[in-house]
């Protein structure tokens, strides 16, 4: 068995509320990502998907803090790494794409220069060389007229183009792991499909593993090999994508899938109603306490 690229072990996060009081955000999350694998994290807003990714990047800001667990990247615990070492990994070996392409780029700097920063920072290139590499990187994400576009400011580009710039930036140093935090949520559907395909193809070509965060199950299904379902700070279920969609074991996952509209789905009363998650999970607080050992899980869905 190969060693996992990213191995998160019992990660716990808290938000501190003053001197000694704090509230748990992640209550012991563990999962692994193999080299080159695309792993999806789904869950509703506030379930802890994004903070998990920020913890991996080491970008948690006060009042958020790690209170326990390990994040092993190629066997190295990122949480114990000195700041300088972490900076060397960040952007270089682990890169990230954010949700909002509108605000994630500096408005007063050309996109070419912003991509070029990566080469200057991590490969010790001069600005001149780096700008040339940036044009190349823009071409790689299929931006038309890359040498002209490199001189554009973000406000001169559409949302889809800006997200391509973000992808070019993130993949500039061919990282081992790409974290994509809802990279297509702010885009319209056609652009969304293009951007997804781009991420999928580029990462496959470079052997880059992806941690893909989304609340959109359709998006996850189209890109990831394995999926983890998060709810209220816990990873409640994890499975191969196909298996998860066909046989969800946890009642929250079933609720999530039931809330997915399907074209042409009908029941005997005519149109089928979408399932409301709250009607499935009667008592959320109890669910949290029992740490999500779902009844179906015990019935033995193991082969």
């Amino acid at each position: 068995m190969t060693t996992p690229l990213l191995d998160i072990r019992d990660l716990r996060l808290v938000v501190s509320l003053g001197r000694s009081a704090h509230h748990p955000l992640l209550k012991g999350v563990s999962f692994q990502i193999m080299p080159g694998e695309a792993y999806g994290l789904v869950g509703e807003s506030g379930s802890g998907k994004s903070v998990t990714s920020l913890a991996v990047m080491g970008l948690l800001k006060r009042p958020l803090a790690v209170s326990g667990g390990e994040i092993l990247f190629k066997g190295q615990n990122l949480l114990a790494l000195p700041k300088r070492e972490m900076r060397r990994l960040r952007g270089n070996r682990i890169a990230m794409i954010f949700q909002e392409p509108m605000t994630a780029l500096n408005p007063l700097s050309t996109v070419g220069r912003q991509i070029a920063e990566m080469f200057v920072l991590h490969q010790g290139k001069s600005w001149g060389e780096a700008e040339k590499l940036a044009v190349e990187a823009l071409g790689n994400v299929r931006v038309p007229n890359p040498d002209r576009r490199a001189k554009n400011y973000p406000h001169q580009m559409s949302g889809g183009l800006r997200q391509r710039v973000m992808i070019a930036m993130a993949l500039a140093c061919s990282p081992d792991l790409l974290i994509a935090d809802e990279p297509t949520t702010a885009l319209d559907v056609t652009v969304q499909a293009e951007v997804l395909r781009l991420i999928k193809e580029l990462c496959a070509a470079r052997g880059t593993a992806v941690l893909f965060i989304s609340h959109d199950l359709g998006v996850i299904a189209s890109i990831c090999q394995r999926v983890g379902v998060m709810y209220s700070g816990c990873l409640v279920e994890e499975n191969e994508t196909r298996a998860l969609f066909e046989g969800p074991r946890h009642e929250y996952t079933r609720g999530l899938l039931g809330a997915l509209p399907r074209l042409g789905s009908r029941s005997e009363h005519g149109r089928q109603r979408l399932v409301d998650i709250d009607s499935i999970i009667s008592d959320r607080s109890k669910l949290t306490e029992s740490r999500f050992i779902a009844p179906r899980d015990l019935e033995g869905s193991q082969p």
Binding site: M57, L59, R87, R88, L89, R90, G91, N92, A95, M96, F98, E100, T103, A104, L105, N106, P107, L108, S109, E117, M118, L121, H122, Y153, H155, M166, M169
Partner: protein, 311 residues
């Protein structure tokens, strides 16, 4: 960029015309005349014949419309009229004072920028630190202290007690004479600048693209140099512009207090004796100064932020 510059400069013209009209209207309705104020010392009764003669000389007995036409046509030839008191052209009077005024305003602003901007920047980078707390307390104190009172304190301490600097006057225009009035005048813009710089930098630090910058693996210093500095400049330039523009007007009190021979003290003296042409002229110059600074700020904006040129 050239067309943008030209457009901004042309926009100043209508503003000046409107301001000139307003000034004329205001001073044609204020009570009291130069002639009456000459005899207003209470010792002698005003001689009606004398007043009539003076009014005749300055054309004050002509109908309002006629005076207005004269005013506008003179203005178009850059003639601001003749002072009632000294019988000198107003342009010459202002010219004599402008140098001292500019000196004071530039020195005060330079002091405010050099001290205020770095303080605000450092305070924002370490919010809640001792430096931050001290700076912000200082800024609030600086904003709430009346300038003339601060000026008096400075005079007392540095001129009377320590005897380091001259207490007032222009002297031979040396730096020693400039320091006290400039520092006093600079305290308000300094405090304002420190506060807005801090707020602006904090705002930028919370922006999404700063998170992106961190995610690229940049050191704190590089994030500040490459991404924070330029973005927070917009707010700083605005504040500098607004303050600089109004500084010559604000200097009235300080010029009076330190007997500084600038536009401000000329204005105060002329208002007291209803020397209307001089008052009109000085106000026009102060407004013009404000407009020039404002236009300059707009041009600087466009140089900083590529989004502005588009409009």
């Amino acid at each position: 960029m050239f067309r943008f510059t030209l457009r901004r400069i042309l926009q100043v013209v209508p503003t000046i015309v409107v301001v000139a009209l307003l000034i004329f209207v205001i001073f044609s309705v204020v009570p009291g005349t130069f002639a009456a104020s000459l005899f207003a010392d209470g010792k002698r009764a005003a001689d009606p014949q004398m007043i009539a003669r003076l009014n005749e000389e300055f054309g004050l007995n002509k109908p309002l419309m006629e005076r207005f036409v004269t005013y506008v046509t003179d203005l178009a030839r850059f003639d601001l009229g003749t002072s009632f008191r000294t019988r000198q052209p107003v342009v010459d009077l202002i010219n004599d004072r402008m140098g001292a005024s500019l000196q004071l305003a530039v020195a005060a602003m330079a002091f405010a920028i050099v001290v205020g901007v770095p303080l605000g920047f450092l305070a924002a980078l370490r919010p809640g630190s001792i430096l931050d707390t001290v700076t912000m307390i200082g800024a609030v104190s600086g904003l709430s202290m009346p300038q003339f009172w601060l000026g008096l304190l400075m005079m007392y301490l540095f001129a009377l007690q320590l005897n380091w600097l001259p207490s007032f006057g222009y002297g031979d225009g040396s730096l020693r004479n400039l320091i006290l009035p400039a520092v006093t005048l600079g305290v308000t813009p300094l405090a304002l600048l420190a506060r807005t710089t801090r707020a602006g930098v904090l705002d930028v630090l919370n922006a999404d693209f700063i998170r992106t910058a961190h995610s690229k693996g940049m050191s704190e210093a590089k994030v500040v140099r490459w991404h924070v500095a330029r973005n927070s400049l917009v707010l700083i330039v605005t504040t500098v512009g607004l303050q600089f523009g109004s500084l010559i007007g604000q200097a009235v009190v300080i010029e009076k207090l330190f007997a500084w021979p600038g536009i401000g003290s000329l204005l105060v003296d002329s208002v007291a004796i209803r020397d209307i042409p001089v008052v009109q002229g000085t106000i026009l110059v102060i407004v013009l100064w404000f407009l020039i600074i404002n236009t300059a700020v707009d041009l600087v904006y466009a140089a900083i932020d590529p989004r502005i040129k588009q409009e």
